[in-house]
């Protein structure tokens, strides 16, 4: 399917902005296969923020890139990802994603905005270009004002912007085409805590306008501030999905519990061991080698049922 409902994202909304089913991504390398995402299923609703959390290298960013059609040529993707109940992002042609989806229907808030921006052009030139290419009705001044940037800031080059200001410019560009779905890929890495809080506040207000937000982060406290729903990813699979407050308060999967307990305001205790290589995932539950509660049943891969993929948690 290459067409979809007209772009009335913020008016009459479909029930789900993004409906992902069995998303699987593998990369073929010389002599190895990377199992980056395995059968991930979740949905993001308008007006809600889903945070996808997990350790670095667990497949979170690959998942985001798959949705945007930005994976390299050696990737194989299967499953479906319906945008607004219509267009399947995983089956869409590259030119459809480029001309109709990215920027217009899905906005990307990048990791490390300072390096995402082109270093030899001013913030204004880049924002103007986005507005022009997208045929947007917004103006640079209006978007700048919306994110607390002064007009003078727009005339600076990326290296003249602080981390927080570069973030605002990236936000303004992501919003230039008025997308109904925003994907924020580690938008806070390298920012200090007040800036993280402010960035999360902006994401929350974008949600409250009716946009759907998929937030990818390793920062549980940032997720806690903004997310309605939470998905915990481990070694390419979603292991727990639920309401953010519930998962953070009463995590059921042993990995999710370990991650929550490792925070400095909790037990501050690391999870023993290290995550497995995505080129050599263990048979059965991938967390089993690190899990203190593992039982015989864990030699089989647990399905995600009732929000948790764990043989022990469900008993």
């Amino acid at each position: 399917m290459t067409t979809s409902a007209p772009a009335d994202r913020l008016g009459t909304r479909p029930a789900t902005a993004l409906d992902v089913r069995d998303l699987t991504v593998t990369f073929r390398l010389p002599g190895a296969t990377v199992q980056a995402v395995t059968q991930a299923s979740f949905e993001v609703r308008p007006g809600r923020c889903l945070a996808l959390v997990g350790e670095s290298g667990c497949g979170k960013s690959v998942l985001a890139h798959a949705l945007l059609g930005l994976l390299p040529g050696n990737a194989t993707v299967s499953g479906s990802a319906l945008l607004d109940g219509g267009l399947d992002l995983l089956a869409a042609r590259p030119d459809v994603l480029a001309r109709q989806v990215r920027g217009r229907r899905i906005g990307l808030i990048p990791q490390s905005p300072a390096t995402h921006l082109t270093p030899v052009r001013t913030a204004r030139a880049q924002l103007d270009e986005a507005l022009r290419e997208l045929g947007s009705a917004h103006t640079a001044a209006e978007l700048a004002g919306r994110f607390g940037l002064r007009e003078a800031d727009l005339d600076r080059y990326p290296h003249e912007l602080s981390g927080g200001m570069a973030q605002r410019v990236a936000n303004a560009i992501a919003l230039a085409g008025d997308p109904g779905l925003l994907i924020a890929d580690e938008p806070t890495s390298g920012l200090d805590r007040p800036l993280v809080d402010r960035a999360m506040g902006v994401l929350r207000s974008l949600c409250d306008e009716g946009r759907a937000v998929l937030l990818i982060t390793h920062d549980l406290r940032a997720a806690e501030r903004v997310a309605d729903d939470l998905a915990v990813m481990y070694a390419s699979r979603l292991v727990e999905v639920g309401e953010a407050a519930e998962v953070l308060e009463r995590p059921r999967h042993p990995y999710a519990r370990g991650l929550v307990d490792a925070q400095p305001d909790r037990a501050f205790r690391p999870i023993p061991g290290m995550p497995p290589e995505l080129t050599a995932l263990p048979g059965g539950c991938a967390f089993q080698p690190r899990c203190l509660q593992a039982v015989a049943a864990c030699s089989a891969v647990p399905d995600l049922e009732e929000g948790v993929a764990c043989h022990v948690a469900r008993r």
Binding site: S56, P194, P264, P270
Partner: protein, 229 residues
Amino acid sequence: MLRADEITVRYGSRIVLDRLSFEVAPGEIVGLGGPSGCGKSTLARVLALMLRPDGGRVSVDGTPTPGWRQRAPRALRTSVALLYQQPRLAVDPRLTLAEIIAEPLAAAKLPRDRAAELAERAGLTPDLLTRRPHEVSDGQLQRACLARALTLRPRYLVCDEMTTMLDASTQALLVGVVRDYREEEGAGVLAISHDQVLLERWADRRAELSGAGSRPVTPSPSPVPRSRS
């Protein structure tokens, strides 16, 4: 005592540190917070003898750093180790993790036997040690950087936003390694972070640097009793 007396640092006409005095005692972990751009990282580099201040002096256990031009003398430099926020910018991408960890030993012409033990303590398995930086995650690379920082048994360790890029579990592990090192070697630690919750948990006492160019001297008012399991 790792001590900075009346340190002044300017970048062009901008004064980043203005007659700042600061000290870290052996065996203590001092947490340093403050907003972006207030000079935390500059102070870290001054204390690690990587940046010569425009004014004032640094001394290590009573030994003043003489008027060095390019680099401080090796014996002094290696008594203070510095850990950076972004491990990828702190390693040679052509080396394996094992070589990265052993680099200071090679430079000091010392046997490399200690490297393996430190790697293990930082939670690095032998198969990871044969890889290069692009083949490991940020968390794994930072573990290697911490192991490297400890190879020459520095008397002081400066951790500049060491865990900002990392997930909670890796953060807790690395902080645990630093604490254990402090316990075993009696080393002093300067832990720099904008994360107050982390510093509260990690440091014995805390200090705050105020805005850029101002007078940021804020010795910690109340040292926290140093009791760690």
